[in-house]
């Protein structure tokens, strides 16, 4: 059997240098005239090891990571010619039981990192478009029933049963209907949808075509963030190729059914992740939400019945039709079937794209798959669901990830961002960070969201300076409650969540700021001081680095920080060669 090399070529990999590694590998393989296939694939999932390649030979599959161009010669020499592993950069070999993958279950990501996303043939070789053929032989209602049976729920965050949503669209009056794929992944810290689009775009297209057939839609839109240029390019290629093969366009696979898809690039507005705002944006308007009802299924895009689902939801659909609804529902919990993809990042050893059955515990995801906290620090909190979600503590590590349990705990499943935090992170600062984001992204339509988030942010700013009282905390809670109740869309309704959950689980930390005027994690700048200890060797590096010229001292003498000038940026601490700069 000839060997094949797969190079992880999603945005993360490219950012880490995959392009250079790929070029060098290709050159070396050609120079040596080796019988080896080399292919660019989507995200392999282990983003912490980028750039990554996988080599498959008759022994099985080997993964190498953190590669540099200089590694390539030796890697080719050893693995591809002498057939011995290149131990220096080896991550997994076929004989390993690697936790990172053994606890995962790949449904949505089954092709990501395996196939060349720009090749429709690769997708079809892995049973691609089989589900569509099957679907076109079925009655639309039969398909919807299957989706209902599968217990698939919306992966965009709210978890609405997908089959039910399709039923509404199908039952709606009107001969012109639309279908939308929401790929406006705006949560900071989330990159699941990007990886799916970059790694397996045809799965999303196939899901949409099946959905269109089931609901009776004739035109589809993919609303994709403009910040995802690689995803947009691969989608365009995929659409073109699907049209050529007769999977899209007039009379799909020689049936009566016609459907086509157009890409709309977003223009940078977080609120456009909300369905009615998104539709306004496609129509060429300011992306502002409107009250529901009427729901999109009755009156959506251009006033026509519209069905809208998230990228990951669509990507599940072909799998369900191929493998059966029962098989799918057996993967998750009783209430929701299947898996969920998470973007695991932050202070974690092995961050990356993780797909687990719904109901897996947070502990399994963070400690078994993610291998725990980096730099031997303490786990403090995990933030789920981005600006709409919340922070959970170590007491919640046993919580299964599923829509209901996470909501009960104060977080949300959300779209799948999972940011791990350690002892060095201040929860007042984290709350401030998210509120700063939502305040900036509020579209301004509802007063409670527009003004309320601004006022909340101002209060948090005061807290981070150590100013405020218990009374202010009560005021803050009251205002948060009002914003939740009186905002029109999800942005405002969930904006106070990061504040409320940190208050609920880390009240002590808030109190430390307000009562003692200290920031236990040493983050809030107004509450910390940098000093230089007696250990200082007087090298002058810190003085040179200081942007505020606050450090003085003679050569080889202990230096001193002028507290009046110091802006507490921490640059001196970062550059000190002997760790003589202390913070408290």
């Amino acid at each position: 059997m000839s060997k094949s090399v797969r190079v992880g070529y999603a945005s993360c990999g490219i950012a880490a240098g995959a392009e250079q590694v790929y070029q060098k590998l290709k050159e070396t393989i050609e120079e040596r005239e080796l019988d080896v296939d080399i292919e660019k694939v989507g995200c392999i999932g282990m983003c912490h090891n980028e750039p990554i390649i996988e080599i498959e030979d008759n022994q099985g599959s080997y993964t190498y990571g953190n590669l540099e161009v200089d590694d390539v010669n030796e890697l080719v020499e050893k693995h591809l010619i002498d057939e011995i592993a290149y131990e220096d950069k080896l991550i997994t070999s076929p004989s390993d039981e690697y936790d990172y993958f053994s606890k995962q279950r790949k449904v949505v990501l089954r092709n990501s990192g395996v196939i060349d996303p720009e090749s429709i043939e690769d997708y079809m070789e892995r049973d691609g478009y089989e589900a569509l053929e099957k679907a076109l032989d079925m009655d639309p209602q039969e398909i919807i029933d299957k989706i209902k049976e599968s217990n698939l729920r919306g992966r965009g965050g709210a978890g609405f049963p997908t089959g039910m949503k399709w039923q509404f669209a199908k039952d709606a009056e009107g001969n012109e209907k639309y279908l939308i794929c929401n790929a406006d992944e705006g949560d900071p810290g989330a990159f699941m949808d990007r990886s799916v689009l970059e790694g397996d775009p045809h799965a999303v297209l196939e899901g949409m075509i099946i959905g269109a057939y089931a609901t009776g839609a004739s035109k589809g839109y993919i609303y994709c963030r403009a910040e995802y240029p690689v995803a947009v390019r691969r989608l365009k290629i995929a659409i073109e190729k699907a049209r050529k093969r007769g999977f899209l366009g007039e009379n799909i696979l020689d049936t009566e059914f016609s459907f086509d898809i157009q890409i709309k690039e977003g223009a940078g507005a977080f609120v456009c992740g909300e369905e009615t705002a998104l539709m306004h944006s496609i129509e060429g308007e300011r992306g502002m939400p409107r009250p529901r009802p009427p729901f999109p299924a009755q009156e959506g895009l251009f006033g026509k019945p519209t069905n809208i689902n998230n990228v990951e939801t669509w990507a599940n659909v072909p799998w369900i039709l191929r493998n059966g609804a029962e098989e799918f529902s057996s993967i998750g919990t009783d209430e929701s079937g299947g898996t969920k993809v998470f973007a695991l990042a932050g202070k974690i050893k092995r961050g990356g794209l993780v797909e687990v059955p719904i109901g897996t515990t947070l502990k399994e995801v963070i400690f078994d798959i993610g291998d725990g906290i980096a730099d031997e620090k303490e786990f403090k909190a995990v933030q789920l669901g981005g600006p709409s979600g919340g922070c959970l503590t170590k007491d919640h590590l046993g919580t299964p990830v599923d829509y209901e349990t996470l909501t009960e705990a104060g977080a949300i499943m959300g779209s799948g961002g999972m940011i791990v935090m350690d002892e060095d992170d201040c929860m007042v600062n984290v709350a401030h960070y998210f509120l700063d984001f939502t305040q900036e992204e509020s579209c301004g339509k509802c007063t409670f969201c527009r003004v309320g988030t601004k006022r909340l942010l101002e209060m948090l700013e005061e807290f981070s300076k150590g100013k405020g009282s218990d009374e202010d905390i009560e005021k803050l809670k009251e205002m948060a409650d009002k914003i939740k109740k009186h905002s029109l869309c999800g942005l405002g309704q969930t904006a106070p969540n990061p504040v409320l959950t940190t208050l609920r689980y880390f009240e002590e930390e808030y109190k430390a700021h307000l009562e003692e005027g200290t920031c236990p994690a040493n983050v809030c700048r107004k509450l910390i001081t940098y000093t230089i200890s007696e250990d200082c060797i007087g090298c002058g590096t810190c003085a040179e680095e200081c942007p505020a010229d606050a450090i003085s001292g003679d050569s080889k003498e202990v230096h001193l920080i002028d507290q009046g000038k110091c802006i507490r940026c921490g640059a001196c601490q970062e550059v000190c060669p002997i760790d003589a700069v202390e913070v408290e």
Binding site: A15, G266, C443
Partner: protein, 192 residues
């Protein structure tokens, strides 16, 4: 505005519309800056973009995106042309354009530096990276350096969270940054 050199045919984008003449960066020949005549091909270029789209409101955002790609920003007179083409008031065009973070109304620097402030980057010190670049360039976030070489912006998330903290210079992402690394990267672009 877009200039074309009468001598060598080189085309480039020129930001200071007050100058009367300017040297062609290619052949150093003097090129006249005026809104009339062949040296300025502004009007023709907008038409080229417009005719690709149907004159309907839903074309507005894609047109704005393409115009910005071409000019680096949305010049006022171009927005007027778009309004005329779509038969919409200019205020409407401006209203939509200002709603979205992507659109800008002033020319950009030659290099665009975007410092990511996603959650993962935030907990790994994005603020420090932003400050280091600000200090290095002597400008605040949101500004362009005087020589027109760099524009510095903050973005909500670039989606390369496992490489945090990250910044993007033009189309290249740089990950696992420290203050030092960020400054070195800027220095490299400075040298060209």
């Amino acid at each position: 505005m877009e200039l074309e050199c009468n001598n060598c045919g080189h085309e480039w984008f020129y930001r200071n519309e007050e100058d009367e003449t300017v040297l062609c960066p290619e052949c150093q020949d003097e090129v006249k800056v005026s809104l009339e005549g062949e040296s300025c091909s502004l009007e023709r270029d907008v038409e080229g973009v417009l005719e690709k789209y149907l004159s309907q409101p839903s074309s507005l955002i894609p047109i704005l995106q393409e115009v910005q790609k071409k000019f680096g920003y949305l010049p006022r007179d171009v927005m007027e042309d778009i309004a005329e083409y779509l038969e919409l008031p200019v205020s409407k065009i401006y209203g939509v354009a200002t709603f979205y973070a992507q659109f800008r109304f002033e020319p950009l620097g030659d290099h665009m530096i975007r410092v990511c402030h996603g959650t993962a980057c935030h907990v790994k010190g994005a603020d420090k990276i932003g400050e280091a670049v600000e200090n290095k360039l002597g400008i605040e976030t949101g500004e362009t350096t005087e020589d027109g070489q760099f524009t510095l912006e903050r973005v909500a998330c670039l989606g390369c969270c496992s490489l945090a903290p990250v910044m993007m210079v033009d189309d290249t992402a740089h990950g696992n940054l420290t203050r030092e690394k960020a400054k070195d990267i800027v220095e490299k672009y400075k040298e060209g």
